[in-house]
């Protein structure tokens, strides 16, 4: 699998993503600096977590207008898979590749802990390695993870089976108490219409190795590897 990780000033999960990708695929991904305006032939682009451009104006707003994102959009339009994690999810909503927006957490606090997620759909190259309805544990670390979209957009996402992950409790129940940040309908990750772009606030790259305390994030990368094999 030919993968690239985009690196912005302020990205801080780019190397974690690279390690997770190499661990699963056996190949080092390309690390692409934000000033580049072209991308080579690729199977996967990862837009990593962090605080690109210091979160100035709005999280992801500056990065969304950087030279490299025009190239990412062009690749996404051709069906190249794009995975946005945390700040990467914020960047993808700001570019319009994914619907909605990530607002300040309901309780205004930065949240850094493991979260339980329910897999909303296995119908994508990112989630095929999970069974729909499976409960997994993945860390979250964000200040702006409160997913918002108009009710009609949320209904459309549900009708299209495009909600990849929802926050739940340990038993898999999707409750208000299990919603860490106030996200509409407990949404933690969504797919685009063609199911080739995924944005998610939790960090699968941080829990993809037994040495890090768990491997619930690994199937995200394994699924992608199998999809392009």
């Amino acid at each position: 699998m030919k993968a690239a990780v985009i690196v912005f000033p302020g990205s801080n999960c780019d190397r974690d993503a690279a390690v997770a990708l190499e661990h699963v695929t056996g190949r080092k991904p390309l690390m692409i600096w934000h000033r580049n305006d072209a991308l080579p032939d690729l199977d996967l682009i990862v837009v990593p977590g962090g605080f690109s451009y210091g979160d100035y104006l709005r999280s992801g707003a500056m990065a969304a207008n950087s030279p490299i994102m025009a190239a990412v959009k062009a690749k996404a339009a051709k069906g190249v898979r794009v995975l946005g994690i945390c700040n990467g999810f914020q960047v993808l909503t700001e570019t319009g590749l994914l619907p909605g927006v990530l607002m300040r957490n309901r309780d205004l606090k930065f949240i850094c802990r493991d979260a339980w997620l329910k897999v909303g759909t296995a119908r994508s190259d990112f989630t095929a390695g999970y069974a729909t309805g499976r409960t997994i544990r993945i860390p979250v670390a964000h200040h702006d993870g409160n997913y918002f979209a108009e009710p009609a957009v949320l209904d459309q996402l549900e009708d299209d089976d495009r909600i990849a992950f929802r926050y739940c409790d340990e038993t898999g129940a999707i409750t208000a108490a299990a919603n860490p940040n106030g996200s509409q309908r407990n949404i933690a990750g969504v797919l685009n219409e063609s199911r080739t772009v995924l944005g998610m606030m939790p960090h699968p790259e941080r829990l993809a190795d037994p040495l890090l305390g768990g491997t619930d994030g690994a199937p995200t990368f394994q699924s992608l590897l199998e999809a392009v094999a």
Binding site: T93, M103, N146, F148
Partner: protein, 80 residues
Amino acid sequence: MKAKVHVTLKQGVLDPQGKAVHHALTALGFTGVGEVRQGKYIELDIAETDAAKAKLAVEDMCKKLLANTVIENYAIDLEG
């Protein structure tokens, strides 16, 4: 020409920061404050003397960068 841009959250979009400010005002004894909504104020110096052209340019800036129109409205005032 100077453009003054106010970016505010749309009605119906929850504003947790505004709520926190309201809570703090109440704690300070400022009763009688209704809802508090927090926004952004941006000043731009525009190299343009034609107000209509300046307004169009700033509207474009608002749509593309200054506001996220999924959740935010913007208002533009031109001076000079």
